[in-house]
């Protein structure tokens, strides 16, 4: 047999998958489980991304897991008190709240969403009730053959949410998903799968927030599948602010139908290693896609944002802005691909990645990639990496502003256009405060 990368991970997952199958009883014959089996087979045949993987070139997630996590250990019980749970919440956010503790849906802490036009179901419940209801929703956007972590998630994920927004429904209050991990006593590994279907002309916002607390390592493997119908407007926020021992990988896949509008706002604030794969397919004409990202890193945090926007049809617009501030010996990676197919004339696609390195040991690798097959398009990309503008710093200081304060003003200003993009006021304030706290040290 061909040698695969991440064999030790595959080995421990194999025994887990076997005992998982045994526990299934009736669900073992379901369509979902057939998909799981095939995902696991793909994973065990091809393994995890090795050191030569182009997509994981700067982020050897496989090695990081092998080195830092013991996947054979059983998942710990959640022991944090209610106070710590509410401390992870965004103050002042008026939203339907869904809480996951150690990756498991918590009915006790979650709101019952009883609003006309939206149905929010826990994935675990949906799987138990009638896995047929997941047909056409589960495993439709994400492709487990293309990414080993999607395969792992597809094989194992039992928790997450299924959100279905009816046609024409305008949902005022966002749905917020809080993922809180307790790593105070032992390691934690969990998979999360969220499935979001937005009907025609619907309008809706979903927020994910990830926090881990404690000194032990954790692995979060999340997959989101968004299906955005004609003329629908969907906003997706992801706020990741884990402990410095957290390994976090997510794959978000969205497909957009005609004249739809999808925004992904991704904030990576802390962790050991974070990898965000964001893939958006503009499958029909008149789509707009916005990808905004901010990574604010210190210590040894390593954050890798990989985005792909696929312009498949004419007259679509995509706009991407990612900014990073890196201190300590942190490492940032940005890889943004704009793919314009031959059919996609009149495409407007813009991409920008800007980085500030605050220390000699911080690094960034940035790679814009444009692959354009159509001949009548407007595409641009640009990336900059630099240090804090010393001349600007001196200017502020020369007016009496202390150096650390002046530094914070300049960095906040650098990040400001990403905050201005945030339409939810509570999130804007929350992020603004975190940024100010972090920068004014």
């Amino acid at each position: 047999m061909e040698k695969i990368a991440g064999q030790t991970i595959v080995d421990s997952l194999t025994s887990q998958f076997e005992s998982f199958e045994k526990s299934l009883n009736g669900q073992g014959k379901s369509a979902v489980h057939a998909i799981r089996k095939s995902a696991f087979e793909t994973l065990s045949n091809h393994g995890f991304p090795g050191p030569k993987s182009e997509a994981y070139k700067f982020t050897n997630f496989t090695k990081a897991i092998e080195k830092n996590l013991d996947l054979d250990s059983s998942s710990p019980t959640f022991g944090l008190d209610a106070q710590l749970i509410s401390a992870s919440e965004i103050a002042g956010l008026n939203a339907h709240k869904i809480v996951f503790l150690n990756g498991i849906y918590s009915e006790e802490h979650s709101d019952e969403v009883e609003v006309q036009g939206i149905k929010v179901t826990s994935l675990a419940k949906a799987l138990k009730a009638d896995s047929k209801s997941l047909e056409g929703i589960f495993n439709t956007q994400a492709n487990f053959e293309k990414d080993a972590f999607v395969a792992m998630n597809t094989a194992f994920a039992q928790h997450g949410v299924v959100i279905e927004v009816e046609a024409n429904a305008v949902i005022e209050k966002p749905v917020v998903l809080y993922f809180i991990g307790d790593c105070t006593k032992s390691q934690l590994t969990y998979n999360i799968r969220n499935l979001v279907v937005a009907g025609k002309f619907s309008q809706f916002t979903v927020i994910e927030k990830f926090d881990t607390i404690g000194e032990h390592a954790s692995l979060t493997n999340a997959v989101n599948e968004f299906s955005v119908a004609e003329n629908a407007h969907v906003q997706y926020y992801k706020i990741e602010n884990d402990s410095g021992k957290a390994y976090h990988i997510s794959n978000t896949h969205a497909s957009q139908a005609a004249n739809s509008n999808f925004t992904a706002n991704t904030y990576a604030l802390n962790g050991a290693m974070v990898r965000n794969n964001l893939n958006i397919k503009l499958e029909s004409e008149g789509c707009e896609a916005y990808m905004n990202g901010l990574y604010l890193l210190d210590g040894k945090t390593h954050v890798d944002n990989h985005t792909i926007v696929d312009h498949m049809k004419p007259n679509c617009y995509s706009n991407e802005l990612y900014k990073g501030i890196m201190d300590g010996s942190s490492k940032g990676v940005f890889n943004g691909k704009i793919f314009v197919r031959q059919d996609a004339q009149q495409t407007n696609a813009f991409q920008s990645n800007k980085n500030i390195l605050l220390s000699d040991k911080a690094t960034v690798n940035t790679k814009p990639q444009l692959e354009i097959w159509a001949d009548d398009v407007k595409c641009s990309h640009g990336c900059t990496t630099g240090q804090l503008d010393q001349e600007a710093l001196f200017y502020l200081q020369s007016r009496g502003i202390q150096k650390d304060k002046a530094r914070a003003i300049l960095l906040t200003a650098f990040a400001s256009d990403l905050l201005e993009n945030v339409s939810n006021e509570a999130i804007k304030i929350y992020l603004g405060e975190i940024i100010a706290q972090r920068l004014e040290k």
């Binding site: 503008d389 010393q390 001196f394 020369s398 007016r399 009496g400 202390q402 906040t412």
Partner: protein, 252 residues
């Protein structure tokens, strides 16, 4: 107020100031003139605390304290102000917010309470009038996309807001049209009092028609080679700098 003794400074390996002596008393206006590359702007930068320059000798006392020991922001809080030759553009920071932060840091340093919003706005309005600058300009990102004249007026506006004891204007006149020059000069003249002092760094005599100096010093090769009154500036305007250079080179 300001006492400079034998000040020497360099940038990287290049000696620029080679022993400057200057005394500035409250209420005085000093003009520092000189040909390009004579060290005028370096002197202004060293006084304001720019870190690119290394002071290699001499001393500077400001109100009896060692100025060179202070960081740039402390100097500003003690009352030193530098109007930049090339004001920096800072995207994402509005002049208004910036001034509020700066003013309150200075006030705190001087043991005063922070200004409340109403008093701050009142002060803004008053000073805006002085330099004929518009509110909309001040709500925008600091200096971003400002014309040369707008940038220089913004410098004088900031100076008016912060009310420094010692204002150093680094070639504030260069590049200005006559209207902007009048506005800038009017601002400086209005702010002048018996308690504060001004140092004008300039290449041209033109500014000195509007802001009349008590003393004119000529800087050449990093030293003050000649001092006089405003008549010296007129003489320089008429004869250029060559005769100064010759005189200085002959005695060197």
């Amino acid at each position: 107020m300001l006492s400079i003794k034998n000040l020497q400074a360099r940038i990287e390996e290049k000696e620029i100031l080679r022993g400057i002596d200057l005394e500035v008393k409250p209420g005085e206006v000093h003009a520092i003139m000189g040909p390009n590359g004579s060290g005028k702007s370096t002197l202004a930068s060293v006084l304001a605390g720019r870190e690119d320059y290394e002071v290699t000798g001499g001393e500077v006392a400001f109100q009896g304290n060692d100025l060179l020991e202070m960081d740039a922001d402390v100097r500003a809080r003690e009352g030193v102000f530098l109007a930049f030759q090339y004001p920096v553009e800072i995207p994402g920071v509005s002049t208004t917010n910036f001034m509020k932060t700066a003013l309150n840091q200075i006030r705190e340093h001087q043991g005063e309470k922070a200004l409340d919003a109403v008093s701050f706005l009142k002060r803004m309005k008053e000073k805006m009038k002085l330099v004929e600058i518009d509110q909309s300009l001040l709500s925008r990102s600091l200096n971003e996309g400002f014309s040369g004249g707008e940038k220089k007026r913004n410098e004088i506006f900031q100076m008016a807001m912060l009310e420094p004891k010692l204002a150093i204007l680094d070639e504030t006149d260069s590049g200005l049209d006559i209207d902007a020059l009048r506005i800038v000069a009017n601002g400086v003249n209005t702010l002048k009092s018996a308690d504060n002092a001004t140092i004008l760094v300039t290449h041209y005599q033109r500014l000195l028609e509007y802001i009349v100096p008590d003393f004119v010093h000529v800087l050449y090769n990093g030293k003050i080679v000649k001092s006089g009154t405003k008549e010296l500036a007129l003489e320089l305007e008429e004869k250029g700098y060559d005769w100064i250079k010759e005189e200085a080179d002959a005695t060197a």
